[in-house]
Amino acid sequence: VRRAAIALLVALLVLPGPATAFAATCPRTSLADLEDEVMCQVCGVPLGMANDTLQAKRERAFIKRLVAQCNTKDAIKTELVAQFGPSVLAEPPHHGFDATAYLVPAIMVTFGAAGIASIGLAWRRRGAQGSTASRGATPVLDPADRERVDAALERWEP
């Protein structure tokens, strides 16, 4: 009786664990979660944006099968790449002309930062020059103006 009780206790403790865990983790992802991250290659748009074209339908059915088999999102993506090649992922390739999708934003950010920095420096320099001039630098007058000012000063007697 004691052995049976222990066995029952062990069974109660051990058996529901994996079953509950399985129920909690399966399915691990969904079609909706993947649709924006993979392409319908025939349509040339992400699967989420593809209408009910034949390839899109087949791809969705394939993903649903993999989801039902309790695969993770990464495992499904790996399987999709194995079936359809890397271009099935909705991200530009890292080589060839498509690599510009990564390069151009990086170059733009670099140039933008350099532009902002140089505008800032120029603005600061101009500000410094302006304050020096207002602090006591003699304004430059051309000779004709200087003569007119001198004549006016001579005429002016308080």
């Binding site: 290659q41 390839q55 079936q83 002309f97 140089s118 304004p139 051309d142």
Partner: protein, 193 residues
Amino acid sequence: LSTAPPQRGALRERSRFAVPAALGALALLALLAYGVVSIRDDRSLDSAVAAGKRRPAPRMSLPALGGAGNRSLDSYRGKVVVVNFWASWCPPCREEAPLLESWQRRLTARGGTVVGVDVLDVTGDALSFAKEIGITYPLVRDRDGSSAHDFGVGGYPETVVIDRRGRVAAIQRGPVDDRFYAEKVVPLLRERS
């Protein structure tokens, strides 16, 4: 008061930013133009065939569908090869496949073959399709459609006929029929390599 020096300075300051900005904009435009041109469909094979010229077929070496190893188009040199691009999810391909199978029986006796290129498809689905139709001709798998792209394939099914010297002799953008076989394939079977 003299105002000339500050104006010149401001202009210099402005051009210091304007020139690199204009160059950057031009570079972006050039990149955009190149991108648009490079993704345009290549129809040069069609133009050559329409002009009666035979251009060498693009190179193609693909894994056998459901089997081991690669099959190359070069290995069929000396034969007339009917290259059919298909997918199991394409209904017209399903309708066309029995006809291609009947061609295969006629071609093998006369130094020719059909080669089926399964494009952008799930291997299991493609194998079920082949089993269901009873396809006996060689099948290869173009998983990402890159070889199909080299042949200018834009839809499914499409068929390209290659002569015994490895040159593109005929193209059908859409399903084939027996008239196509009689007019485009049979004359090639009479040619020597």
